[in-house]
């Protein structure tokens, strides 16, 4: 039996934008992207604002045309309309027609896939239930909150039961409940055997959901792999929570940082210095409440990779 092509393969995908009015210059948005998304995985596409995430997704959906390189969805070139049959796409901050109800909008989306009328009716009901909008099925979307619009946007991306789902910042601007709903929805898609590529700059979402992450910086792919491969596996430091002692009263080698948190003190301690620090705390009349090993997080990785200064400087730029 012939093996099915990968859900998504990009080779040398490059895109620049013209900027300026009178003297136009080319600003590279994506440079030589080589990426392969495996069947059934959730791939997090992460990077700061302006790193090329949205550009990539627009190239994959045919909204933008590459300057060079190519991409294939299940073996079909993305310029080809057939590549979009097995694709679901949620743009960033989707604007859906505010004069339509979600039921009408999903019906419209279903018609564009050529679904027969009876199938569309069923599909619309199922999707509205899936995203929790069944009670607002006949409310014009102009009355929707941001979270409800996002859910309706997700529903339209699922109307054709896509094998590959491309989601651009699906959790952006959502409250905790909305984020949980979207997270569960993404996990459900994987359980159903679908492949998901979602872009995000919320690193905790990527850590929670993804099988692998692809990291972008300045339009270039910095690394791609499982979190365990990208992050240092060992303990980075220990977090020691104490009471009854002030941080400035501790001058022990191996304490990287100390800060008062209410009546307690949180210490960042090197692993080898734990015994010394515990002894010093007790000698000073304090108590050790908890010791927590801290491993490198995706956020730490980012601060290092993106040139974070370790002084609270934000490698994410504005967002």
């Amino acid at each position: 039996m012939e093996e099915e092509p990968a859900p998504l393969v990009a080779r040398g995908l490059t895109k620049s934008y013209r900027v300026g009015h009178l003297r136009q210059t080319l600003r590279p948005a994506l440079v030589d992207l080589d990426l392969e998304v495996r069947p059934g995985e959730i791939l997090g596409y992460v990077g700061p604002n302006g790193s090329g995430k949205t550009t990539t997704l627009k190239l994959l959906t045919g909204l933008l045309r590459p300057d060079r390189g190519e991409a294939r969805v299940f073996g079909v070139p993305v310029g080809d309309r057939a590549s979009r049959r097995r694709l679901g796409y949620l743009p960033e901050h989707p604007y859906l027609y505010d004069y339509l109800t979600p039921a009408e909008y999903l019906d419209y989306a279903g018609r564009l896939f050529g679904l027969p009328s009876a199938d569309r009716r069923r599909r619309v009901e199922d999707l509205l239930a899936l995203v929790g909008l069944e009670r607002s099925a006949h409310t014009p979307m102009r009355r929707f909150s941001k979270g409800m619009v996002q859910r309706a946007g997700l529903a339209q991306a699922l109307v054709n039961s896509p094998d590959l789902l491309l989601l651009d910042e699906p959790m952006s601007g959502l409250d905790p409940l909305g984020r949980r709903l979207v997270r569960n929805l993404i996990l459900e898609q994987r359980r159903a055997g679908r492949t998901v590529l979602f872009s995000t700059h919320i690193l905790s979402d990527a850590e929670t959901l993804c099988d692998r992450v692809a990291v972008l910086r300045g339009g270039r792919l910095v690394s791609v792999g499982a979190l365990g491969e990208i992050l240092r596996p060992g303990v980075a430091h220990l977090e020691v929570l104490t009471s009854g002692i002030r941080p400035d009263a501790l001058s022990v080698e191996g304490v990287v940082r100390g800060e008062a948190v209410g009546e307690r003190t949180r210490l960042e301690v090197e692993e080898r210095a734990l015994g010394r620090v515990v002894g010093a705390v007790e000698a000073g009349g304090g108590r050790v409440l908890a010791v927590q090993p801290v491993r490198q997080s995706l956020e730490d990785y980012f601060f290092e990779e993106m040139g974070g200064r370790g002084d609270g400087g934000n490698p994410w730029g504005e967002g």
Partner: protein, 258 residues
Amino acid sequence: MGRGLSRLVAVAANTFRETVRERVLYNLVVFAVLMTLSGLLLGQLSIRQDEKILIDIGLAAMDVFGTLIAIFIGVGLVSKEIERRSLYPLLAKPLSREEFFLGKFVGLVFTLFVNVTAMTLGLYAVLLATGRGIEFRLLSAVYPIFLGLVVVVAFAMLFSTVTSSVLASVCTVGVVVAGRFSDVIRNMREVLPGAPGWLIDALYAVVPNFQNFDFKDRVAYGDAMPPDVLGWVTLYATAYCAIVLLLGLASFRGRDFQ
């Protein structure tokens, strides 16, 4: 129905639904009917000219408000899709840009048809209410007005694909005004002897002559337009629409949606 055609019809139906739910449109149609009714008042002031004035004002209202509607929906509906990015999820489906663009056009033309029909029925209702019969010859002035509006919508769509909604509105109004005074362009050589002849000729050829769609006076004076004249006008409008839509389509097809 082929799949491509069915997608085109889906876009057209949604476009029509959008315009139906746009309240400004109703205001314009109501205003046009009110203007037709005002013809009753003016008719009272003239001797034995009341019916002509009524028809004159009714057709003029249809023309003016129809043009406003055509510009409003032609620019508004296409620019809005691009500026608000509502077309992004649609174009990521197996819908070609051609189907989207032509579907929009068909939906807008159908909206214009419904609006012109409503205004025509309004005019006939006023004529009936004032004891006059239904005169079908009026349709030979209404039909060219409708064709002119279709040409306006095609231009509005073309401009919407290349520039912002404000500039697209300005350009469309410019084409409408220039087209309604195209004899001024033709005679520009006499007014501006220094103007290059080729430029005047090119301008005259490019700008549609909207006077070709204006049979209001002749119909108001009791003439019915011969079918061959209406046939030529149809051909003229079709040719213009085809060229303008092809240009719009080429621009829309090549566009990057950043």
